[in-house]
């Protein structure tokens, strides 16, 4: 649902005085809040950072279909089934227009797909966790989409026009997703003892991975400064994580559930919740491929792509013969 590990150029941010005229004009446009459009001049670093971020975001939507798709055939009612299909379909749609936004920067969808399938490109690690019970569908909507919205709302103001506009549309749908997730959780928490246990168990498993969605702690996140200067990124990882915790803890209270963190405590002085430290070892392990489902997710995407080759080739062959026939007829 977003890109959690974007490396930008890594270089120190240049001051306006250090820039040449073209770069300075570019930075001044950004500072004035004017959107950058695909045909405008832009520094290579800006282009590369955006391609990486938007394509990671798109890949996350695509891989994100898998954990929830796992429950479509077993959704408990006709309404729940329809809602879940619609949600997974939205994700495919987000992937599609994010790929289109990235294409405006001069990279093809085929290339991006190749990078995803080879394991070269990253996607959000949250999707490397398995969905074990129906409550996981609720928890994903509530927590994962909740965290995604937190990340994406600022991206609506991103300096790159196509990405910003895509985010405006995506955010509308994501907030519907979050509500449907919370609605599933409410039903479970109002239900039988077993259903409530299922809900608590899902919260236990999805809580920390959701906090990890905001990326490494600011102390370890060295690449943010340039992205912030370019208005690709607007808030720091830790600021967003704090916001998420502050929003989510009362929602858990309302459900009668407890996040699995004994250190959660309201801090009157800060006007925010204190909370425990994320297991960063786990975070980096899963990013690097050591999560419970990394292998399965990539295998599923590769299988879909490989099994579908004859279908894509068949359509291309038809289009080619039809064009040839047309030419022959003329």
């Amino acid at each position: 649902m977003y890109a959690q590990q974007v490396k930008s150029t890594g270089a120190r941010v240049k001051s306006l005085e250090e820039m040449d005229a073209q770069e300075r004009a570019f930075q001044e446009r950004i500072d004035a809040g004017i959107k950058i459009e695909p045909k405008d001049w832009m520094p290579e670093g800006y282009r590369k950072t955006l391609i990486r971020q938007i394509s990671q975001h798109a890949h996350s939507e695509i891989v994100g279909q898998l954990p929830e798709g796992n429950w479509i055939t077993s959704a408990p009612t006709l309404d729940r089934k329809a809602i879940l299909i619609a949600k997974v379909q939205d994700e495919a749609g987000h992937g599609l227009y994010l790929y289109c936004a990235a294409e405006t920067l001069g990279v093809s969808r085929d290339q991006m797909t190749k990078d995803l399938l080879s394991g070269k490109a990253k996607y959000s690690s949250i999707f490397n966790y398995p969905t074990l019970t129906w409550a996981d569908i609720g928890a994903i909507g509530w927590l994962v989409d909740g965290a995604a919205i937190m990340n994406q709302v600022p991206l609506q103001r991103c300096s790159f026009g196509p990405y910003s506009r895509a985010m405006i549309r995506v955010c509308k749908e994501e907030s519907f997703h979050q509500r449907q997730g919370y609605d599933i959780m409410m039903k479970l928490c109002d239900g039988t003892v077993e259903q409530k246990e299922m809900a608590q168990d899902a919260l236990n498993r999805w809580w920390w991975p959701s906090l990890m969605m905001f990326g490494p702690s600011d102390n370890d996140s060295v690449h943010s400064a340039q992205s912030m200067a370019w208005k690709i990124k607007q808030d720091s990882n830790d600021e967003l994580r704090q916001k998420f915790v502050d929003q989510t803890v009362p929602q858990a209270d309302y459900l009668g559930l407890k996040p699995p963190d004994p250190d959660i405590k309201w801090n009157e002085a800060r006007g925010a919740y204190d909370f425990g430290e994320v297991d960063w070892e786990e975070f980096f392990r899963v990013v690097k491929g050591g999560g419970p489902c990394n292998k399965e997710r990539l295998a599923a995407r590769n299988k879909a792509w490989d099994d579908g080759a004859w279908f894509r080739d068949g359509l291309m062959a038809y289009a080619a013969t039809r064009d040839a026939r047309k030419v022959a007829a003329e």
């Binding site: 798709g69 408990p76 006709l78 619609a86 749609g93 259903q195 299988k303 004859w310 068949g314 062959a317």
Partner: protein, 255 residues
């Protein structure tokens, strides 16, 4: 005909329509995230959504006509194999994408014609459902016909795969157009169309599309029967086990 007898027939008919939509929708939805190209993920999800939406109408009406306090969900999630009334065609496994598309096409052609005829059903509630559904199914048929033509007349491999799919599935089409006593009684009172007439129109459309797709209709296949009487394939129980798991594992819970 007494009202109770007519209601009973209309209920049976709604079950058949609803079960066809439910089982096909269930299977198509399983493609989400696994289709050959992103646009197909989106298109298949659309089709599945339409079919599940139509299921709610048909099974809702069946439950209402039955009058025993059951809901559409009860009918979908708490009946066993022998009580399902869908045709054998829709329960055939997804197979490769060609099998899925061919199954869709053969069904869409039938579905579209039946719904169009149902617009003038003497049972108002059935005509109303048909009116909503036919708009969606018109598009399903357009899409599946178009893809069958493109893939049949595409590459050597896509042609071969579509031909295999047609060979495998053809034997399940006859059932949809072979009337049993319920179909005959329904046609007589104008609730549902005469299936003989549907068969003619179906054959016309299907033959035209398959010809353009350069595909050959298999000769002399024995047309399998049984779905309407609850005689399904071995895989069907497994499909239900997957679909009904939560309702069965947690009886009485609401979701």
């Amino acid at each position: 005909m007494p009202k109770a007898a007519k209601d009973n027939l209309a209920m049976e008919f709604s079950l058949r329509m609803g079960d066809n939509c439910l089982i096909l929708g269930q299977q198509v939805a399983a493609w989400c995230g696994h289709a050959p190209v992103l646009e197909e993920d989106i298109a298949l999800a659309n089709t599945a959504l339409d079919l599940i939406g139509q299921t709610k109408f048909w099974l809702g009406l069946a439950a209402e006509l039955e009058g025993e306090g059951r809901s559409a969900d009860d009918l979908a999630f708490l009946r066993d194999v022998r009580a399902f009334r869908n045709g054998l065609l829709v329960e055939q496994p997804n197979g490769d994408f060609g099998q899925t598309l061919m199954r869709q096409f053969l069904f869409d052609a039938w579905h579209y014609l039946v719904l169009t005829a149902l617009l003038s059903s003497t049972e108002k509630r059935i005509a109303e459902i048909a009116e909503k559904a036919v708009k969606e199914v018109t598009y399903h048929l357009e899409r599946s016909s178009d893809l069958v033509i493109r893939l049949g007349d595409g590459s050597a491999e896509s042609h071969a795969r579509m031909q295999t799919a047609l060979d495998d599935l053809w034997r399940f089409t006859g059932e949809l157009m072979t009337p049993d006593s319920v179909d005959e009684a329904l046609a007589e009172i104008g609730v549902a169309p005469d299936l003989g007439r549907i068969e003619k129109q179906w054959a016309e459309h299907v033959r035209a599309v398959l010809q353009e797709a350069t595909l050959t209709i298999p000769e002399g296949a024995y047309m399998q029967q049984g779905g309407k009487a609850g005689l399904h394939s071995e895989a069907f129980g497994h499909l239900l086990a997957d679909m009904q798991f939560l309702q069965r594992a947690y009886p009485g819970a609401t979701w």
